[in-house]
Symmetry: C2
Subunit: 423 residues, 2 copies
């Protein structure tokens, strides 16, 4: 199989069909955003989730794919290859959304996988390896935290019963919701968790950031998922009367917060604009205009694709804050620590070649957000394809990618799958 793509494969991808499927799926759990944008609220393992899966299954079976579900509810739609017993190429993403979510995050990766496979079949291309389209269970973590349970269990990152006791806001356990879900899908063939170790995995996803739009690129060749470290900091001083208390005698938590934030900004300064540093939550107590604040609690979200940088700068946070703070006490705790995941050149090169051969512009970029692909990395060569997100907006009904941009992504995915499934 050559890396140059037969024109009929490119033309076999239907921009309209893919868009129509996305819009039909977006009716299930449809909501309207604050700005009037049509969004989706479709939590995992709900009737809406199942309704969307049934629709996907119908399209897949109409096409001749075979369906199976594993014990975590991960859904697989299989296109057979020509070589018996060959490890499949896996593609897909997730179908659940954030509570105030958009119409493209996750679901497009599953729909694009189906579109790519359909185009491959309609173009009459026989692949050596099977291709499987997967819909991972509970990527978002909005109903049951954390996210990525389906891919984590599949990849043996965590035992499948790890989250049995996790409850949703109504007190329903993950175990109970999953059991009900599997009963509702008892008519579908079951497969072992982690069966069919794939030859490679490639996930299509909207970027959820503004880089491709800003750089006017059609396709993001994703180099990996950056590492993250999350901290919670509490600065504790003493209240005082804003009129009577001399500034030199105060233990003002807001002023020490400003000192800490300024020092952290210096530590996290990055002329290459790769590092992500965010103080997103700040609480100030008692919150009275004429009282010096005694408590400031704030969060740090620090991400970087380079492991060394993540460890060096992350480890420097505590000392940076302690050195900066002048009058108050400080407690710092790390709440989350995930090392970067690097994608495989086999997949990155295949995506880049596919884009180039179709005359599409591309850029190698790291992913700022988490994805199921992160957990597939230890299992097989893994990569992702990004398409632009308008204004970088995601996790919001205003999330948008044009039909033509999504079609570009599906075409690149189709060609990538042909390449990988031909190896």
């Amino acid at each position: 199989m050559s890396t140059s793509v037969a024109p009929n494969l490119v033309y076999a991808v239907s921009e309209q069909r893919q868009w129509d499927r996305l819009m039909e799926l977006a009716q299930i759990g449809a909501i309207t955003g604050a700005d009037g944008s049509p969004g989706v609220n479709r939590a995992c393992l709900t009737p809406g989730d199942r309704q969307a899966r049934r629709l996907m299954i119908r399209w897949a079976t109409d096409l001749g794919l075979t369906v199976s579900v594993d014990e975590l509810g991960n859904l697989f739609l299989r296109h057979e290859g020509t070589e018996a017993g060959a490890a499949p190429v896996l593609t897909g993403s997730h179908m659940d959304t954030q509570p105030n979510g958009g119409r493209f995050d996750g679901i497009w990766g599953v729909v694009a996988g189906l579109e790519a496979v359909q185009a491959i079949r309609e173009a009459g291309i026989a692949t050596t390896r099977p291709i499987e389209v997967v819909a991972w269970t509970n990527e978002e973590g909005g109903r049951f935290a954390p996210g990525c349970m389906g891919s984590m269990a599949w990849a043996h990152h965590s035992p499948p019963n790890t989250w049995d006791g996790v409850t949703d806001p109504d007190g329903v356990t993950f175990r109970a919701a999953l059991d009900e879900h599997l009963r509702e899908e008892a008519d579908l063939p079951r497969r072992d968790l982690g069966a069919h170790r794939p030859f490679a995995y490639v996930e299509a996803h909207i970027e959820q950031g503004p880089v491709l739009e800003t750089e006017a690129k059609d396709i993001g060749v994703v180099t990996g998922i950056q590492g993250s470290r999350w901290f919670v900091v509490e600065i504790r001083g003493e209240t005082a009367h804003a009129g009577t208390s001399p500034v030199s005698l105060r233990r003002d938590a807001v002023q020490d917060f400003i000192r800490a934030a300024t020092a952290l900004n210096a530590l996290m300064s990055d002329p290459n604009d790769v590092l992500r540093f965010t103080i997103g939550r700040v609480e100030v107590l008692p919150g009275s205009s004429n009282t010096v604040a005694d408590v400031v609690r704030f969060t740090i979200d620090f991400r970087h694709p380079d492991k060394e940088m993540l460890l060096t700068n992350g480890d420097a946070i505590e000392n940076t804050i302690r050195t900066a703070v002048k009058n108050c006490d400080v407690t710092i705790s790390e709440r989350f620590h995930a090392l970067p995941a690097a994608f495989d050149p086999l997949v990155m090169d295949a995506v880049e070649d596919a884009a180039r051969s179709q005359g599409l512009s591309s850029a190698r970029i790291p992913s700022g957000a988490f994805h199921d692909a992160q957990f597939v990395v230890p299992i097989c060569p893994t990569g992702m394809i990004f398409v632009p997100s308008r204004k970088g907006i995601s996790h919001n009904p205003a999330e948008y990618t044009e039909a033509s941009q999504l079609a570009n992504g599906a075409r690149v995915l189709a060609a990538t799958l042909v390449t990988l499934a031909g190896r």
Copy 2:
């Protein structure tokens, strides 16, 4: 009348009697603070307020003082002078408290006035001028905002019906509460609002700040009440995903808040530590750890005893913020603007002499907090006497001043009244 005080006046002031009166009054509306300290919640124009006034009136009439009430409910307890028709020297403070208040703020100034007059009488000192002890209505503004209604109306700063429609948290209007109050005190003689324009006014009060304690001074000779300007600032940017959004493309309201606060700190830097600059309330929205914040609202409380400084620096706030903020929109509104009030050398010198002649240390300090004395300034020579506040704590049950420190204050007040009432 000489400025050296007869020893019998100093000894006539009773530390124990004054303390016992304060403790008896503190039973009316007694509460317990978070740290177990005994505090007081006694809002103005409530049954508790009237009960405390009746107790004060009983002590005053037992002593031979005459009682009258004006149409704002301000209570006057009069000691006659030897010269018919001479303008009285006025002293006093307020009897209402903050909801979570202490046992000394306000009430001590009234009790000290009574103690001083009692000592003058018991020492057999005849003053040329009358001395009146006043309890101003609603200084705190906790039940009906703003505070200082009684002194403002008395001083013709505002017409007496200005606050008729102001309601308390239960929807009761100030007019209704005042009418009920005046009915309950209908047995007391009425006087015209603003009758008896005084020769001078001196108010004793706890410092409510840490300066006297820190400098180990017995008495504060208050030079005036600093001016205040209050602002509310809103910084408005755009939310973004903390993982995917490059820092260079963000409109991060927290980062612009840090820029604004840093620039304001530079503007408000004062090596003399006289200026008071406080950012006491900061709200950050949406307040999610992995979302770039789009809104920060914060307050500025800026105070200074010097009018020029208050105007110059206060007027520079808006431009300072606008210059500092980089990526967001800003709205700034001024919510309160009060010029400094300067006290009169006649009163300041009398207080300072009284302290010196009694062997007490004193310091000239401005008042950081508001007081009724502020509104008396345009009417007659005005001043205040401060005693130390432990750790500067006030508006809190933990507010504390030792009985001996309060006795020092009452002795200085007695001598000051003798001096002023002899002129």
